[in-house]
């Protein structure tokens, strides 16, 4: 078989400690869709060991920004610096191997697979085991124990053998987070982790993100100001693809431009 690459991709780095250094920085990041500028000269800085929220009204460019950061879209111009290295132009799978993991806004799972199979697949990814078409899939069982640990961490251990398609909505979101956590990413990107959840699930998710955040940087998008207020060390407000304001949650929610643009109707209702 000439087309059987057995070289393993570089393993995802364990989160580097050292607070204060920017793990992620974008420089004039711009994405243009045939004349519509979805992301316009965004300069974002995410310090290591912090939780950073991206907020903004629908169409502000939050998900586009996520897709740029993870290689699902290529920027029109600008840089994306991950620990100082420009990763603009890299493919999603390459960025995944650099210790960046993401969840999706719309639940994105393999409906036919069981939960434990999801985690096994995620854990096998950096090892190159996936290329072995001549060996038994039982070898994925080597990751079973770690898979079960991750499932316990998100409270899904008792459903490990269930197919993902049969899970309730909140459980699917929890599985998303477990998948993103699997390879111990140094940068965790969560696109609307609490979207569509009931209040109990929202609180559980907040606790979960708090629990898993030490030792890594987390960037998340959420519309729920309760979530943003409870989790975020710093907040970036986007509007029409541009950064409107930045700072701590309290700074941002007292910012007049933000109040007029976005927080006006919801800013004080969730406290």
């Amino acid at each position: 078989m000439s087309a059987s690459p057995t070289t393993t991709e570089p393993l995802s780095q364990p989160p580097e400690s050292g607070t204060g250094t920017a793990i992620l920085r974008t420089v004039d990041l711009t994405k243009d869709f045939r004349g519509f500028t979805a992301v316009n000269s965004v300069n974002l800085e995410v310090a290591d060991n912090t939780i950073h929220a991206l907020v903004g009204p629908n169409g502000a460019g939050k998900t586009t920004l996520f897709n740029l950061l993870t290689g699902f879209l290529q920027p029109t111009s600008g840089q994306i610096l991950l620990r100082g290295d420009d990763i603009a132009g890299k493919q999603p799978e390459q960025i995944a191997h650099m210790g960046v993991a993401r969840s999706f806004q719309i639940t994105s799972l393999f409906d036919e697979m069981t939960l434990v199979e999801h985690l096994e697949l995620a854990l096998a990814s950096p090892t190159g085991l996936g290329y072995k078409f001549w060996s038994s899939r039982k070898r994925l069982g080597a990751f079973r124990e770690r898979s079960m640990e991750l499932l316990s961490e998100v409270g899904l251990a008792d459903r490990s053998g269930q197919r993902a398609g049969s899970l309730a909505y909140g459980q699917k979101r929890a599985l998303e987070i477990a998948l993103a956590l699997a390879n111990n990413p140094s940068l965790l990107l969560l696109d609307e982790p609490t979207a569509g959840m009931g209040i109990e699930d929202v609180d559980r998710t907040i606790e979960l993100v708090k629990k898993v955040s030490p030792g890594r940087a987390v960037v998340f998008v959420d519309h729920n100001m309760h979530v943003v207020g409870s989790l975020a060390d710093s907040v970036t407000v986007l509007q029409s693809g541009e950064v409107l304001a930045e700072g701590t949650y309290d700074q941002v929610r007292n910012d007049e431009r933000v109040i007029t643009a976005y927080l006006g109707e919801t800013g004080d209702t969730h406290e």
């Binding site: 991709e9 069981t114 996936g130 490990s160 053998g161």
Partner: protein, 343 residues
């Protein structure tokens, strides 16, 4: 922890619905034995060259299922690999005079070789565009084969392909014995396909089929996986095409024409995709039907096979095998739950 794991196993058997593990291991082993017995007995009941056709087309359909059922890629140009191997096998057999399995191996390698650039270009597209790129390649090969008549015999095809087999005359002259000599090649192809889908690689393929974006976010290089499975599939199609041309003693343009690509997709869907078993079943139905209709002097074979195809797709969305597997599993789990009730 151990309590959780036992629980896992129980839930898994109850909830499993993915086609490749719909049946429990015992049922699968039993079916494998039955299938082997059927395959071994086939030329006793069916005219041996027709039995050989069923196996060759069946393996060809398995190669298509590997892409369609397990990776979500519809190749509409698989005749390219079947035909490429048919011609190359024939050429090696006539020119070099090696035993036919060696010639088939050469044909298979040729099929895999041309699958590399084809796959490389095709996997950049999905859905109907993937089908169009593969079709375009197959058509290109068809016209090349038509033009290069010095090698391929053009319209006449490559004739007089010998069944050279270590001087064993029975195999070389009697199609009944040839069937058994060629059978290991078919089984090898089926084994490679089974091994592939039940490997870690196969698991990744299912992930790609169901959610390519998620697979990429997990770090899987989706295009590379698709190229690899495309080449493996082409190799299996090559084994099948080689057996076919040696069995018939000639390779013709018919092997490369687009209707051949269509026919094998039809067989695969008819039998049930994502099952591996389905392809050979679909092949058996189509080949036997064609044989019956042809010997009764009926000319509109396409109308009949087309009509059957429509009926099966409308009534049994999962194909013959998919529907049968559901049925077997329902009976089995019904018996199992009754067994538990008694105990």
């Amino acid at each position: 922890m151990s309590a959780q794991l036992t629980d896992t196993v129980r839930v898994e058997t109850a909830a499993s619905a993915a086609p490749e593990r719909r049946l429990n291991p015992f049922v699968r082993a039993a079916l494998l034995v039955v299938a082997l017995l059927v395959v071994l007995a086939l030329p006793w009941y069916i005219y041996p060259p027709v039995a050989m056709d069923i196996l060759a087309w069946g393996l060809f359909a398995i190669s298509v299922d590997l892409l369609l059922g397990f990776t979500g890629l519809l190749s509409f140009g698989h005749a390219a690999f079947w035909g490429m191997s048919a011609y190359t096998t024939g050429y090696i057999a006539t020119q070099v005079g090696v035993p036919f399995p060696v010639a088939i191996l050469g044909g298979t390698l040729a099929a895999m070789l041309i699958a590399i650039p084809t796959g490389y270009l095709a996997v950049r597209r999905t859905g109907i565009y993937f089908a169009m790129v593969t079709l375009a390649f197959a058509q290109m090969l068809y016209f090349i084969a038509n033009q290069a008549s010095d090698i391929t015999g053009g319209e006449n095809g490559l004739q007089g392909i010998p069944k050279t087999f270590f001087g064993i005359e029975l195999v070389e002259t009697d199609s009944f014995y040839f069937y058994y000599a060629a059978l290991p090649i078919i089984l090898l192809g089926a084994f490679i396909a089974w091994r592939t889908v039940s490997s870690p690689f196969g698991r990744v393929l299912l992930a790609i089929r169901d959610n390519p974006a998620r697979a990429r976010a997990l770090g899987y290089d989706v295009e590379r996986y698709k190229i690899m499975v495309f080449v493996i599939s082409a190799g299996i199609a090559g084994l099948a095409g080689g057996v076919f041309s040696v069995s018939h003693g000639f390779a013709s343009l018919q092997e490369l024409v687009w209707t051949t690509s269509g026919k094998v997709v039809l067989m695969t869907v008819l039998g049930g995709i994502g099952t591996l078993w389905g392809g050979p079943l679909g092949a058996a139905v189509v080949v036997l039907l064609e044989d019956q209709l042809a010997s009764s002097g009926f000319n509109g074979i396409g109308i009949i096979t087309g009509a059957i195809f429509i009926i099966i797709v409308l009534l049994f969305r999962k194909g013959i095998w998919g529907t049968a597997a559901d049925f077997i599993e329902r009976i089995r789990s019904g018996m199992a739950s009754r067994g538990r009730g008694d105990a």
